[in-house]
């Protein structure tokens, strides 16, 4: 009899706990959205339009709150650390970060990753092995295009558009910020592609913060072909080409803005390699959302696609759809 009573009481208590649990679910507010902070260099720049579109679309689909930090140029690890701290104070649950230039960024990002998940976008962390000068594995998930391949592809485009005959021609290279993985890899890809072409590299320069690339190149001799491996520099040089009636120099570039595409359409830039920024943004948010749903989910690094855009391709349906992400 006593056993029956105990069983009855236990069942009633369990059911009461269940009722409390259900009632709590009825009245509780919707679970607050997870917050993902996005820290990218010069976030308002047009080159990020497709990336931000991708971020926004994925955030809407995955129901996460996106905070795209309003930034100017992030020149070193310290600046990036301050931004991360600020967002941690704002309650960010995860970070999508474009690694700042410099060798001491890796440690800072790894430390951040220990408290909140971090996805690296656009370029890998720049830190070279002292032994063989190869890039140190960051161990962080990275979603970005293959910068080396993009540089190499640009080199192939220069060759293709000039009938594979640029022997004796002069080439100038304008890379992005020094000590960034993307600038180094793109440059290396380009040089590797043109290494057997017999061309002469007249100048090989890096952009610096606040400096107009178009003005910088004026200090060097005029070249036959110029490879501009960074969006801002390409926009500046394209703009300068508009004003330069001679248009002697053929410009080839890697860029991520509609302005760059427009320059191709206008003939100011001869060929453009454009990475799929939308995919980069979309996937980085989706991966973090998966991690929010399942904390054992492991974010895998992913290499996004890129596309070569020439004047004749711009109004093809496929290119138009691709470019729609930049609008």
């Amino acid at each position: 009899m006593k056993k029956n009573k105990a069983t009855f009481l236990i069942v009633e208590i369990c059911l009461a706990i269940l009722v409390v649990f259900f009632v709590k679910h009825i009245f509780e507010d919707d679970e607050p959205q997870k917050r993902i902070a996005v820290i990218i260099d010069n976030s308002g720049a047009e080159k990020w339009d497709s990336f931000v579109n991708g971020l926004k679309q994925a955030a809407a689909v995955e129901n996460v709150h996106l905070i795209v930090c309003n930034t100017d140029e992030i020149e070193n690890a310290e600046e990036q650390r301050n931004l991360i701290r600020e967002q941690l104070d704002n309650g960010a649950d995860a970070f999508i970060i474009q690694a700042a230039p410099g060798a001491d960024v890796l440690k800072m990002l790894q430390t951040t990753n220990q408290t909140k998940p971090v996805v690296i976008v656009a370029n890998d962390v720049y830190e070279k092995n002292t032994d063989d000068n190869t890039n140190v594995e960051s161990g962080l998930p990275i979603i970005m295009p293959d910068n080396y391949k993009m540089g190499y592809q640009l080199g192939l485009e220069i060759l293709k558009q000039n009938n594979n005959d640029i022997k004796g021609k002069t080439v100038g290279i304008v890379s992005g910020l020094k000590d960034t993985e993307s600038a180094e890899d793109r440059r290396q890809g380009l040089i590797d592609a043109l290494s057997d072409a017999g061309c002469e590299f007249t100048f090989d320069i890096y952009t610096t913060s606040g400096e107009d690339a178009a003005s910088t190149i004026k200090r060097y001799d005029t070249v036959d072909y110029m490879a501009v491996l960074e969006t801002n520099a390409l926009e500046q040089i394209g703009q300068a080409n508009t004003e330069d009636n001679r248009k002697r120099t053929k410009v080839y570039g890697i860029g991520h803005s509609m302005k760059c595409v427009y320059y191709v359409d206008d003939g100011l830039v001869d060929s453009l390699v454009m990475s799929d920024g939308y995919d980069m943004g979309y996937r980085s948010v989706v991966e973090l959302a998966r991690l929010f749903e399942n904390r054992f989910h492991s974010i895998t690094s992913y290499t996004t696609d890129y596309r070569v855009i020439n004047k004749d391709d711009i109004f093809k349906e496929e290119t138009q759809t691709f470019l729609q992400t930049c609008e």
Partner: protein, 601 residues
């Protein structure tokens, strides 16, 4: 395990409770499921209806917008192009006026001849170098089908330079027109590039407002005009059955994509043939449905809780009288004497009464049987006791006769006197219990008589603690032992062997021991073993009352731990010890013992 549970015996309360609980749970869960299902279906129906309503109103908005565009084009055609000469300054003014009025909807207005040469455009901007209008699709369809207006799919406008380096996504509305150019009328194509953002804004807004479903727009061939997941579609991250939908007429259709069931609502926009499609997922759980699920679950759980409580009360009400009746019957069976429970419903009360009555009848019958048995035993004992008299009396009277014949009158008087004492004690007013003193007197009388008969061939010695005189004993227990001692012990011995019978009596704590010792021929070991158990093997002499009878009477009166103990050794003698409880010979004790149920041992 299940077999064990099935085999396990459950009490009535557990069984009733289990059955009621099962019924309660099954009924509640079923009810909850049906309610939830009904609500789910109803809410899906409502959602579907709302989606359809919104779809229709959106289709109307788009249609209104497109009609407006057609009207603008009609106005340009009929009021400007067909009325004014293209070289007339008023032509450009009118065109500009119309453009300015509608520039929030229109990206540009272009008039070109049938060779693709630009005649007029608003706003006035530089045409891009190298652009061949005649190659553009909107131009070709307008020239190909001159009687209709043609809507293109959204595309980037490729006509004019833009100082801000931007492209404009437009939907082109083109038609073939007749141009007045001086004296000679010409054919041309009028293009109105509508801003794509006007369409996309309408659809963006309804997609933002409805998270449970989405809306997209495609043309009659299934080409996507607007889709909230257009970029994902392009990258293969999303799938859509837009090609199938293009063949659907207006209505609601079942659709399935990647195993996900959906309802597709199609509404066709007149003139263009565009299909506005609303997609409602059937698998997705809406917030309200999810909350309702928890609501139902909490109600069902509460219902189960309350039902369990009610079940328990009802179960207890039903089973408690049965269990109490069962417990009282069990207690009765275990030897207790509780009152049989009588309570609860009339049926249980009736059952209790019946059981009570049955037990009372059984007890009464038992008492009757015991009484009968007692009486029977008593009469047996009386019969045993009465067996002493005839044989002994005959021998004694014969001895007295010889004494009188031999003029031994004094001895005869003594013998008669002893015989009288013997009978007085034998009778004892019909009582079974007498004092040890009387028993010893009886013993002495008997031995005095026997000694006369055996002419003082043996000696008798008494060694009795006088303290024992005042304790109780069953009467006539020493006499049969003494009789045996004479017949099998000292009776046939030579006087030279100094035959002797000794009667001893002593007390040890609460026990009294009376011993009859003789130094006669003794018994074989086998006879000693059987003497108290098997009366068939023991030869009977004398009074005919054996030791077995004495043993049985003592045990019947005082219990099995009392009785006789016989020790004998051939040619050495025999000792028979009587073991009795030390009960003081008082009136109360005697009465009590006389009343004692002889079956108690």
């Amino acid at each position: 395990m299940i077999r064990k549970i099935v085999k396990r015996e459950f009490d009535i309360q557990s069984m009733i409770m289990a059955v009621l609980t099962m019924l309660t749970v099954v009924t509640s869960v079923l009810m909850g499921f049906l309610l939830y299902n009904r609500y789910g279906n109803a809410s899906r129906q409502i959602e579907l209806r709302d989606t359809q309503r919104l779809l229709e109103s959106t289709a109307t908005s788009i249609e209104t917008y497109l009609r407006n565009m057609r009207q603008i084009e009609d106005t340009i055609n009929y009021s400007v192009i067909q009325e004014l000469d293209v070289s007339d300054a008023q032509f450009n003014q009118e065109l500009s006026l119309l453009y300015e009025t509608n520039k929030d909807k229109i990206q540009s207005v272009v008039l070109c001849d049938d060779n693709g040469q630009l005649i007029a455009a608003e706003p006035v901007i530089v045409q891009k170098e190298g652009v061949d209008i005649s190659e553009q699709s909107w131009f070709r369809v307008a020239v190909g089908e001159i009687e209709n207006m043609h809507f293109s799919v959204p595309h980037i406008q490729n006509l004019f330079e833009d100082d801000s380096y931007r492209y404009h996504r437009v939907i082109s509305l083109s038609r073939s027109v007749d141009i007045i150019d001086g004296d000679k009328p010409r054919n041309g194509v009028l293009l109105v590039d509508m801003k794509y953002s006007n369409i996309s804004d309408i659809l963006d807004r309804i997609n933002r407002e409805n998270k449970e479903c989405y809306y997209y727009l495609c043309d009659g061939d299934g080409n996507i005009i607007y889709h909230p997941h257009a970029m994902e579609l392009f990258r293969g991250l999303f799938e859509e059955n837009n090609m199938d939908v293009a063949d659907y007429k207006d209505g609601i259709y079942d659709d399935k994509i990647n195993g996900e069931k959906r309802k597709v609502i199609v509404s066709t926009i007149p003139y263009t043939g565009w299909k506005l499609v609303g997609v409602v997922s059937q698998n997705a759980k809406t917030d309200s449905l999810s909350r309702f699920r928890y609501y139902i679950m909490s109600i069902i759980t509460l219902l189960i809780m309350m039902n369990l409580l009610v079940n328990r009360i009802i179960t207890k009400k039903i089973s408690s009288p049965i269990l109490r009746l069962d417990n009282s019957v069990k207690a009765y069976e275990a030897g207790e004497k509780p009152n049989i429970y009588i309570g609860g419903s009339s049926e249980i009360r009736h059952l209790g009464h019946s059981v009570q009555k049955s037990y009372e009848q059984i007890e009464s019958l038992m008492r009757e049987i015991v009484d009968q048995q007692n009486k029977r035993r008593k009469s047996e004992i009386d019969a045993l006791q009465s067996q002493i008299h005839p044989h002994f009396l005959y021998n004694t009277l014969e001895s007295i006769t010889w004494m009188i014949e031999g003029n031994r009158n004094k001895d005869a008087v003594f013998m008669i006197s002893e015989l009288a004492k013997l009978f007085r004690i034998s009778l004892s007013k019909g009582k079974t219990i007498i004092s040890i003193e009387d028993e010893l007197q009886h013993c002495r009388s008997y031995m005095n008589i026997q000694k006369y008969r055996y002419r003082e061939k043996f000696a008798v010695q008494y060694d009795i603690d006088e303290e024992l005189y005042s304790y109780c004993t069953v009467k006539l227990i020493l006499q049969p032992i003494l009789e045996n001692a004479i017949y099998y012990g000292v009776g046939d011995m030579d006087e030279d062997d100094e035959p002797m019978i000794t009667v001893k009596g002593y007390r040890e704590e609460n026990d009294i021991y009376l011993c009859v010792e003789d130094n006669g021929m003794g018994m074989r070991e086998e006879d000693v073993k059987n003497i108290l158990t098997d009366n068939q093997k023991v030869p009977k002499h004398g009074s005919g009352v054996g030791l077995i009878n004495v043993h049985a009477r003592i045990q019947l009166m005082f219990g099995e731990q009392y009785g006789l103990h016989v020790e004998s050794e051939a040619d050495e003698g025999t000792v028979v010890t009587i073991h009795l409880p030390a009960i003081p010979f008082t009136k109360e004790n005697c009465e009590e013992l006389e009343k004692t149920d002889i079956w108690k041992g």
